[in-house]
Amino acid sequence: MGNDEGLQGGDGDGPRGLAKGDGGGLAAWSHAALEMAETSVGWPLSPAEWREHWEWCREYIDREVVYRAGPREGGETHPPIPSKKPGGMYVWQFYLRRATYNSEFAHRLGLLFWDHFGPIYKRAPFQICACWPSGAPIGMAIVMAAYDMGVPINLFMARREPKHIGMDNWFDGHVELNLPVLMVDDAAASTEYMKVASARVQAKLRLPLHRCCFTVVNKVGFGFSKDAQHTENYLDNMLVSFFNMNNFCHTVRAFRERYGEEPKWTGIVQ
């Protein structure tokens, strides 16, 4: 597509419609930048720092992200809510963007990500593909944390449907030609957005996937069937997640027992 008549590709377009960018230069720079980052910004995290960031994020999700149906003290009741499947109801649901749009959560998530992936990136740089729409704030948290550390990394987005104008593109942003792709989303659960996006990255961009993929939450744990977590079907990717379902209170009662108060979201819900 990039060589089609009439398209101005500059010096970069290949048959996949990708711009050449600075792929080789980016990889070389990343190594030097990572060495600097390691010595200059107190990264990686100490075990105590890691634990503090992880626990802060865990509790924030538990308090602000999980919808739990059930009665509250004082007479109020939060009803079950309609499920994706027609006729079904949820008594429990994540709203992870309530966390990923919080500046403190995003900051800590970025630190946790680079604590884990920094050494991996140093050995072999990669680029990030975040899945619209929920992966976008996570992808941004990753690259902005990298920016603060002086580490260059490329981010692009995988759409759920092609843009309906322009070039009808499935991907947004700049794609580096020579770097494997780390897929990023908010949760690894039953809906196969990440798997489908991964397939498109390989088929349309002809880029290899990184051996890892990343989600904030892996929706497995006690009481949650692995059938509900589609990435278990991936052939050769290792899912890295910071949280699973065992980290959160599944019921109002469990929340009360843990925190000594009723679950209550801040802000208005519309």
Binding site: M1, G6, L7, Q8, G9, G10, D11, G12, D13, G17, L18, A19, G21, E64, Y67, I81, P82, S83, K84, Y90, Y95, R97, R98, T100, Y101, N102, S103, E104, H107, P133, P137, G139, M140, A141, V143, M144, A146, Y147, D148, L155, M157, I165, G166, M167, D168, N169, W170, F171, D172, G173, H174, V175, K204, L205, W265, T266, G267, I268, V269, Q270
Partner: protein, 212 residues
């Protein structure tokens, strides 16, 4: 007084070099179904932290004083506004400002809470609307209407990085309330045809966006 002219020019060139897909003939489908010879692809810029650092610096230079006097929260339109939200919030935090942001969906979620907004929405805090690019201000206006529908106050300023028209300042009304729209760039700041680009830079355009 901090001078952000270097940031402005750096970002202008970034957009001009990397974010505009130009064709010699009308091959690019427009929102109204017409065929065009140019198309902005702002995610090439808004997903780039170097670019967004400079945009955020200019934004907070313009609106930081307002925020410090009377805080606002920021709402972005799905989907182009999302990286703008995240970056503005990130760099605000680096400056010691804690700004709440949320996303306004194009349509309510079909299940669950059937919410229009993603993220926390704070009651009693005015809402500034932002987007990556605007043409007719229709998206900004729609988002403002959605915010107003839930009895939140719409901030009297809205922001977009770029206007597809020949203006940087414009406005609309939501109900009776005027909203002044500020953009950093207008279409005249760029070479929109291949000929204009080559005349300006003496080299062919280097669009960096994915076209698949």
């Amino acid at each position: 007084m901090i001078d952000h002219s270097e940031d402005w020019e750096w970002c202008r060139q970034f957009i001009d070099h990397h974010c505009v897909l130009r064709t010699d003939r009308p091959l690019l489908i427009g929102p109204d179904g017409s065929l065009n010879t140019w198309q902005f692809y702002m995610p090439v810029a808004t997903l780039n932290p170097q670019f967004m650092a400079r945009i955020a610096a200019q934004f907070w230079h313009r609106f930081g004083g307002n925020f410090d006097t009377k805080p606002f929260q920021i709402a972005g339109a799905e989907s182009g506004g999302v990286p703008v939200l995240n970056a503005l919030q990130w760099f605000a935090r680096n400056q010691g400002r804690d700004v709440n942001v949320f996303e306004v969906r194009k349509k309510a979620k079909a299940y669950g809470l059937k919410n229009w907004f993603e993220g926390r929405v704070l009651e009693g805090v005015p809402v500034m609307i932002v987007d990556d690019i605007t043409a007719s201000m229709r998206t900004l206006h729609t988002v403002a209407g959605r915010v107003r529908a839930v009895k939140l106050q719409v901030y009297p300023y809205a922001f977009a990085i770029c206007s597809c028209r020949s203006w940087r300042e414009n406005g609309f009304k939501v109900g009776e309330q005027p909203v002044n729209v500020t953009t950093l760039y207008r279409i005249d700041d760029f070479g929109m045809t291949p000929g204009e680009y080559v005349a300006r830079y003496k080299q062919p355009p280097r669009f960096q966006g994915a076209t698949v």
